[in-house]
């Protein structure tokens, strides 16, 4: 059996076995679960050969699986997050209801994502895509809160995307006679012009939904916020990247043949930019960490969409690098929220404060990840942002730079809110006995945070796989050009100079300052957060002085006109209108026998009257 099949089947079998193992022993279940993720991951990295195709037939349709360098890059992300989050899940799900359900869907999701990356034909692509959708749907509704609203919204939008994709797929089939991706790519330039435009647009709609691009993003905040945090780190970190994966393929292989391709790219880029701005503003307004991160994810995906839509070599690298970075830091951040939720039972900023001394490692993860998120040098997030701006400027997309920069600056607001909300501020009595998260949750979190730092110093670790992938898609070798156009990655052998320099300067000064302070260490003493300047007033132990409510009120007041109505609102109205219409169609069936008989007679008469026109000569 081919190792690709083996990996997929291991996941599937693992999912079923893990789901049932809970009946006997919880510990066994945890162990099996981790094994079910790690063994295929190890197999993937050791056994799978690049560019090897496995074909088989289902239902008279020829299907092919294989690994390309491009999907290899995404597979790294999926498996990295998959394994990290799996280990985390063991701690997170400990003692929670629906553990088997969770493990089952988790493994199915990872399997489906890998399947998508393996797919070399549209049918298996779509099949895995849909498995991913419903497995993640089941995760979104898992907590049982607002399922009819959030879950259905997620599913409807996924269905819009998936069905757009399905439509494209059957149209492709009508054109090429089979479902192979490569065949379609080869025949694409010779298609009729209408189809040439229609098919990529349909595919892009499909991918945009998962990548949460502006008008199709409304599912994302709720879904990210209400699925279990351990899953959301995969959901937002890796699953959303499947949309990016598809988009990049469409951009590179299809739209480059199309005269209108540039226009479509620009439109998508602007949609991404709008997503980034609006989602960032909404993230600022959130008081719940989960929702904040959810909106933030949408915003960050907006940047990635900008980058891949621009599609210059550097932008493509930037987009994919940011996609990877986003997986790392957003995965870690959702894990942080999960840890806080696990330890305190709430994710509301206005309730939880001052956990920094209770959960220092969690805070450290959050800090590093937030720095990466905000794109502050020298962590990896900055490199992605820098490449994005650089490529936007070099490709003359000046307005996009401004928009992107604006939302990136505005992202500082929610970044600070996130750190401040949970960890800083007054240390309260209520949370006095909160403990640090268990080790199984800490290790994956910290590992991802370390990943952010590592990629800050050595971005080439991941830029090279990206570049290989892009070359395999038929893209020019952009990695080499990067050295020519920029000195940020000034090459000394294979090292990057600038980042270590920054690290060095920062290190030297931090040490100096720390030394200066520690010289007087005996005079520097710790005082509690109640001992603050309060104009003389003495806060009692139960009084909460932390400033949490309406955190960014002045800013939100300034941007109020933009935020009056959410896009959600339009969808809701539209949905309500549709339901009203559907209610009318329901009334057609009046429940009255005479009416039905009347229908029958009228129908007969109408047909008889129409007969000449109806059946033709």
């Amino acid at each position: 059996m081919n190792v690709i099949f083996l990996i997929l089947i291991l996941f599937l079998v693992g999912a079923i076995v893990t789901a049932f193992a809970g009946k006997w022993s919880s510990l066994l279940q945890d162990g099996l679960f981790i094994l079910a993720v790690t063994i295929p991951a190890v197999l993937f990295f050791t056994q799978v050969e690049m560019n090897q195709l496995v074909g088989w037939t289902r239902g008279g349709i020829h299907l092919e699986l294989g690994l390309t360098p491009f999907s290899y890059f995404f597979a790294i992300l999926v498996l990295l997050l998959g394994v990290a989050s799996a280990i985390y899940s063991v701690g997170f799900m400990h003692g929670k209801a629906r553990k088997s359900y969770y493990y089952f869907n988790y493994l199915l999701t990872i399997m489906a994502m890998l399947g998508i990356l393996f797919s070399r034909d549209f049918i298996s692509f779509f099949v895995f895509w849909e498995i991913m959708t419903w497995a993640s749907y089941l995760m979104v509704v898992m907590n049982g809160t607002r399922t009819q609203e959030i879950g259905i919204k997620y599913f409807v939008f996924s269905a819009i995307g998936a069905y757009a994709m399905l439509m494209a797929i059957v149209l492709i089939h009508a054109q090429t006679g089979n479902f192979l991706i490569q065949d379609f790519i080869d025949t694409y330039p010779s298609l009729a012009h209408g189809r040439q435009i229609l098919i990529p647009i349909l595919l892009l709609v499909g991918f945009s939904v998962k990548a949460a691009v502006m008008p199709l993003h409304v599912w994302a905040p709720g879904s990210y916020a209400y699925s279990p945090m351990s899953f959301t780190s995969v959901f937002s970190g890796a699953l959303s990247k499947m949309g990016i994966y598809g988009m990049v393929i469409v951009f590179v292989t299809l739209l480059s043949h199309l005269p209108e391709g540039g226009l479509i790219r620009d439109i998508i880029a602007w949609m991404g930019a709008m997503t980034a701005v609006i989602a960032t503003l909404w993230a600022i307004a959130q008081d719940d960490a989960r929702k904040l991160l959810a909106y933030s994810s949408v915003g960050q995906l907006g940047y990635i969409v900008i980058a891949v839509a621009i599609g210059t070599p550097m932008a493509m690298l930037a987009g994919l690098f940011m996609a990877f970075m986003h997986g790392l830091f957003k995965g870690a951040l959702f894990m942080v929220v999960g840890a806080v939720e696990k330890q305190t039972g709430t994710t509301d900023f206005t309730k939880v404060t001052g956990l920094i001394r209770k959960m220092p490692w969690t805070f450290l993860t959050a800090l590093i990840s937030i720095i990466a998120l905000a794109g502050i040098p020298p962590l990896g997030g900055f490199i992605g942002k820098w490449m994005l701006y650089e490529s936007l400027i070099l490709s003359d997309h000046y307005l996009l730079v401004i928009v992107a920069f604006f939302s990136s600056t505005a992202a500082f607001l929610y970044a600070y809110k996130f750190l401040f909300g949970f960890f800083l501020g007054q240390e309260e009595e209520e949370w006095a006995d909160v403990k640090e998260a268990p080790i199984t949750m800490l290790i994956p979190m910290l590992a991802l945070a370390v990943g952010s730092i590592l990629l800050g110093a050595f971005p080439q670790l991941i830029l090279k796989p990206i570049n290989n992938g892009l070359i395999s898609l038929g893209f020019s070798d952009s990695y080499g050009k990067l050295w020519e156009t920029s000195t940020l990655f000034n090459e000394w052998g294979d090292k990057v100079v600038l980042q270590p320099i920054i690290y060095a300067i920062m290190g030297v000064f931090l040490t100096t300052l720390a030394f200066t302070y520690f010289r007087n260490r005996k005079r520097t003493r710790y005082v509690s957060t109640k001992d603050i300047s309060t104009s003389g007033e003495i806060p009692l132990a139960h009084e909460n002085l932390t400033f949490k409510e309406n955190f960014f009120q002045p800013f939100l007041r300034a941007v109020e006109p933009v935020m009056k109505k959410q896009i959600d609102w339009y969808y809701r109205e539209f949905g309500a209108g549709l339901e009203a219409i559907f209610n009318f169609t329901r009334r057609i069936y009046s429940g009255n026998g005479q009416t039905y008989a009347l229908y029958a007679v009228i129908f007969l008469i109408v047909l008889l009257l129409l007969n000449g026109n109806l059946f033709g000569q």
Partner: protein, 181 residues
Amino acid sequence: MQNDSRSQKIVDIIQAYARRHSLWILAYGTGCGAIEIPSTMTSRYDAERLGVRGAATPRQADVLLITGYLTVKTLKRVIRVYEQMQSPKYVIGFGSCAINGGMYWDSYNTIKMLDQYIPVDVYISGCMPRPEAVLSGFGKLQDLIKAGVADGPKRYEENFDWYRANQKKIIKNWNFADYNW
């Protein structure tokens, strides 16, 4: 910097100079004295030329200016503020109320002697002292700093039990934490 006595001496001199020419005041404006501070600070008398400047919070301030009477209730706050300030720190009692209770000499809830509760470096007499008097008070404080006798925190630390006993004598419910002095 080594523990060389000569270099230490130079540093001390510079320190003393810096300290007396940079007095950041935290005005605890309890009574009518608070109104004298603006005129001291603004164009007419311009205390800033002496390096006197307002500080926003106790952590940043050098001088605690008690501008008037203190009731039992406000004394509590003053003690807290004083303890939040960072050494070296100075206290200026301002007006006769701070000195001996002034017109509140027989009031049932106004303290009569500020220096029983926190170490006071300089008293400025008057009811109220005019800005000239305030400036001369700052001058006196500068002299004391130069002479090295404005060592309030040291006195407070050394006689801490005595101060605390006095404070607790009138503040019956000592319900705020002792900040590990």
